[in-house]
Point group: C3
Chain length 157, copies 3
């Protein structure tokens, strides 16, 4: 069996499960998440509770994956990608714990470009391509390519 | 009294003052800044000298707050937000120390979406909402909602 | 001779060369790269193999510089800047190692604003200015100023 390789500086908190062959780089903060077999987690990545990563996902450096996000297998997350799970964030909502979690699903084989922001509540289809720097505010069909702020469809499969 | 909780990996440099009930997460770099009571500072955050955070601000992971920024109380800063204090940055300006600091003020209760960039010299009004991925180049009135690159007003209170 | 100053938490991997007077801040991950004299490397920066930085470059916090990037001297890289070297990233491409590296060249004295994303394959000219939050998808002439998503020319020198 291929043991996970975890850098000495990485923090693996309570409730994390790492599949076989997982690689976790330096300065990483994981807690309460499930990481599928053979995933790669880059430097300066944080993944919160209740996130599920399918097998062979690659999470590049500087990205943030919040509670409520599910990635199917072989999803590519570029560098500096920010996921969101609260469409109306505020301090008062956080303090009163009365905000609503808007989950995100990313289909198998999708690719999210560096610097993209993924709004809470959206579903990104299988094999979809999100351009670098895009701000994705609505669902992306399977195989579609989107880009821009807000993201618009460039091509459909 | 509620002592600050500071993660063992966080760096708290000279001149930092932490109010009661402050929480500082892992891999944080603070120096010369004032952090008000009950603020939360997320993972991978850097806050520079002379920054002032009012009470109960929440600074989410991967954000950068530069010298010259003042946040009033209960400001929500999303993930991967970058503040700027130099409208014409260059190596020569930095080496010669002849650049001009352009301060930023964010009013109480404002919310800044993930991935936003806040240009030097702007004032964001109380209760304003900055959309995810926005690039804010001019002042935002109290209670207004802005989004886009450059940010434009979507709604006024 | 002015020895490099490297923070105790910074990781300096195999094959890194640091010029005289280099300063490396906290929580940095460097491997296989050449850093010219008197460069400043900010907090939470990762620089990959085969990157070359000319003298006196300043790489601000939270930025990522990938293999295939060359910066000439005195390039200013703002905070949270992401460089890209693969125009069609995917997990399958990474696993099969059949992707094509698209190099990036940044000319002397250029300034890249915070939150910008630089696509693989582009050349940024000497003294060019990239606006904050820009997504640069094509070449930028010497001395030009560009901004937006995708980046468009605002001024030429």
């Amino acid at each position: 069996m291929n043991q996970p390789q975890v850098h000495a500086t990485a923090l693996i908190g309570n409730g994390v499960t790492l599949g076989t062959g997982v690689r976790v780089n330096a300065f990483v903060n994981l807690y309460g998440c499930q990481v599928g077999d053979d995933c790669m987690i880059g430097t300066f990545v944080e993944i919160q509770s209740d996130v599920k990563l399918g097998a062979r996902c690659r999470i590049q450096s500087h990205s943030f994956i919040c509670s409520g996000v599910t990635l199917e297998e072989e999803v590519f997350v570029g560098h500096g990608v920010m996921f969101i799970n609260d469409r109306h964030p505020s301090v008062q909502g956080a303090l009163r714990r009365n905000w609503t979690l808007s989950p995100v699903l990313v289909g198998a084989g999708a690719s999210i470009g560096s610097g993209a922001v993924i709004m809470g509540g959206v579903t990104i289809g299988k094999g979809a391509v999100i351009g670098a720097g895009a701000v994705v505010c609505k669902d992306v069909p399977d195989g579609a390519t989107v880009a821009g702020v807000p993201a618009r469809t460039l091509a459909r499969s």
